[in-house]
């Protein structure tokens, strides 16, 4: 489903050069639930952003599904992300000015779809994460766990084949973290969604199919 070949990422500032990723080769099968671990600053987020086509690697190739992505332009990349990928972030990144349902609808705005259809799908996604009674709240009126569930609803509303989650439970206590983890595992089991998750939590990582460890930009297991 995802194939990384010889991925290298160098950050250059005027004074220093950081090798954030060093010849990463990685394949993720369709329907796999993969976790990535490693100490802070080892390049986990960088790797996830590259898989998510949010950032371009300095060297190397990424294919997602059958699609080689190296030559895609801004508009094609945007359309591709919209259809195939869903993102979950540690700090939720909800839009505080919008109600929960409008936040969840967001990916559908960039598809041709009627307002009614959008609302329908958003409501369904919120049901899946157990928040159908918070549709018209604003994000600031929700707890951290609830916000992350809204973010998950947003990530799944467009039925992407791949979900990329960067420390989705990082800001939550373990009970809430477990709830989030359950939702992701259900999604993986029942819908066959491929999931790549960065985590600091060994327990979470061991619930997934496979664990990749990074150290200083290199894959160590």
């Amino acid at each position: 489903m995802i194939r990384l070949q010889n991925i290298e990422k160098v950050y250059r500032t005027s004074t220093i050069e950081t090798l954030a990723l060093n010849s990463i080769n990685l394949e993720v099968a369709k329907g796999e639930f993969l976790s990535i671990m490693g100490p802070s600053g080892c390049g986990k987020s960088t790797l996830l952003n590259i898989i998510g086509l949010l950032d371009a690697p300095t060297r190397g190739d990424i294919s997602i599904g059958e699609q080689k992505t190296g030559h895609l332009g801004d508009r094609e990349l945007a359309a591709f992300r919209n259809k195939k990928l869903g993102f979950i972030f540690q700090s939720y990144h909800l839009i505080n000015d919008l109600q929960v349902v409008d936040n969840v609808e967001l990916p559908l705005l960039y598809r041709s779809m009627s307002a009614k259809e959008r609302k329908q799908l958003a409501t369904e996604a919120l049901e899946k994460v157990g928040l159908s009674n918070r549709i018209n709240h604003f994000p600031t009126q929700l707890s951290g766990g609830q916000r992350q569930r809204v973010a998950i609803a947003r990530a799944i509303v467009g039925r992407p084949e791949i979900i990329l989650a960067d420390e989705p439970t990082g800001n939550l206590d373990s009970a809430m973290g477990n709830e989030i983890m359950e939702i992701l595992m259900d999604l993986n089991r029942n819908e066959g969604t491929t999931i790549v998750m960065v985590t600091h939590d060994e327990n979470m990582a061991h619930k997934t199919h496979r664990l990749v460890r990074l150290f200083d930009g290199s894959q160590v297991s």
């Binding site: 949010l54 950032d55 801004d74 972030f89 909800l94 919008l98 705005l109």
Partner: protein
């Protein structure tokens, strides 16, 4: 899609009350100034009273004589206009009138200022004054040099007070008594070519209207039979001017043009530096300056405002918005903001114009908001919205997704 933009635009406005206030204030205030200014200009340029046949008229306001060591420019003599312009073939009528002049008169020992204007009989045919009572003096009365006059409503009020008909009564100006033949509706002083308190036959003027000097204090309106004849009439006038003998050998060249109303209205400079260019540049610069400040302010505020929303930008991009879509979104948001500002501006303008009309800073000048002015306002709003939105939106769209997302909310 648009509904969503609207939702978020309103939400952002509500959240940032101070910012909203400042930018709305800037936009609406500027718009108000501009709209009052355009209403004023519109009044000057498009007001058809008493000059209703403007589209088939040409205006002669000055003659310029060039000498070896200078130039002399100003209104023309009655003789010149009557003799030369009056003999043209194309004009059906030639209205000749003096520039209005002020004189004092006394009513019950109270001094009042009266502006008088000498006119010929065509003047009453070319211009369509509204007669509240009576009628213009006739060609015969002019020829006889009768002391008759047409006065304005204001003058009637000031001289006679609230009273019935004054036709046949006498009014005194410069120690001469004139019998009133008619009363006309007021003309604002800004329509200086037509404005006067009392209109008199040119034959009663103290200076000799038969004097053959070219310069004097008269201007003329040439009226063609129809609009199509206007270019030919202009040409005929120019040809006539080129054939008029130079009055003496000091003068090397003479210029005089029959112009359209607008050109004649602003024709204040000399031949080489045309007045209209001055006036248009001045108005343009003024409008630009008035608009530039709030626009720059808006651009600035917009940049901060948009950068504050970098998390939103990052998320939208991650979930499939292209840079182009985002630029579009932010411009639409900005247009919504400016249009709301525009709406407030229109309301403010209504109030300001009302107050101005009541205060009567310029006698008899009544401003109205009309369709033209509203169109201007709309155009200005769109200009604001685009100009102040495009640059920030463009900067924002260049933002890298990862960078945008790292800056936590």
């Amino acid at each position: 899609m648009l509904r969503n933009y609207f939702k978020i635009a309103i939400a952002v406005l509500k959240r940032r009350k101070f910012f909203t206030f400042i930018s709305l204030f800037g936009i609406s205030f500027t718009l108000t100034i501009l709209m009052v200014a355009t209403a004023y200009i519109d009044k000057l340029v498009n007001d058809p009273y008493p000059d209703a046949k403007r589209d088939r008229s040409l205006y002669v306001n000055k003659l310029e004589q060039k000498m070896k060591d200078g130039r002399q420019s100003g209104p023309l003599s009655f003789y010149f206009l009557d003799h030369y312009a009056g003999s043209l073939k194309i004009p059906a009528k030639v209205a000749i009138s003096s520039m209005s002049r002020a004189t004092n008169t006394y009513v019950n020992n109270k001094k009042i200022v009266i502006n008088y204007k000498y006119v010929n009989s065509d003047y009453w045919d070319v211009l369509e004054y509204d007669f509240v009572e009576g009628k213009p003096f006739s060609k015969q009365q002019i020829a006889n040099g009768e002391h008759v006059t047409v006065i304005s409503e204001d003058t009637k009020k000031e001289y006679f007070g609230e009273t019935g008909s004054v036709v046949g009564k006498y009014i005194e100006a410069d120690n001469v008594k004139y019998r009133i033949n008619g009363v006309v509706k007021n003309v604002p002083v800004t329509a200086y070519q037509f404005f006067a308190d009392i209109y008199l036959p040119y034959t009663v003027s103290k200076t000799d209207y038969k004097d053959k000097a070219y310069h004097g204090e008269y201007i003329a309106i040439l009226l063609a039979k129809n609009e199509a004849d206007v270019p030919a009439m202009r040409k005929e006038y120019e040809q006539m001017i080129s054939k008029v003998p130079l009055p003496n050998k000091d003068i090397t060249k003479m210029y005089s043009h029959a112009n359209s109303y607008l050109v004649s209205y602003v024709n204040v400079g000399s031949e080489d530096t045309s007045g209209i260019a001055y006036v248009i540049t001045a108005i343009g610069l003024f409008a630009l300056l008035v608009m530039l400040l709030p626009t720059l302010n808006l651009v600035n505020i917009n940049i901060t405002r948009i950068m504050e929303r970098s998390s939103e930008i990052g998320v939208r991009k991650a979930f499939g918005a292209s840079s182009r879509t985002l630029v579009y979104q932010f411009i639409v948001e900005n247009l919504i903001l400016t249009l709301i500002g525009g709406l407030i501006g229109v309301l403010l303008t209504f109030i300001v114009i009302r107050v101005l009309n009541n205060a009567q800073l310029i006698d008899n000048l009544y401003l109205t908001i009309n369709f033209t002015v509203l169109l201007y306002a709309l155009a200005i709003c769109v200009f604001f919205g685009l100009f102040s939105g495009v640059y920030p939106a463009w900067r924002m769209s260049k933002l890298n997704v990862v960078t945008a997302l790292r800056q936590n909310n």
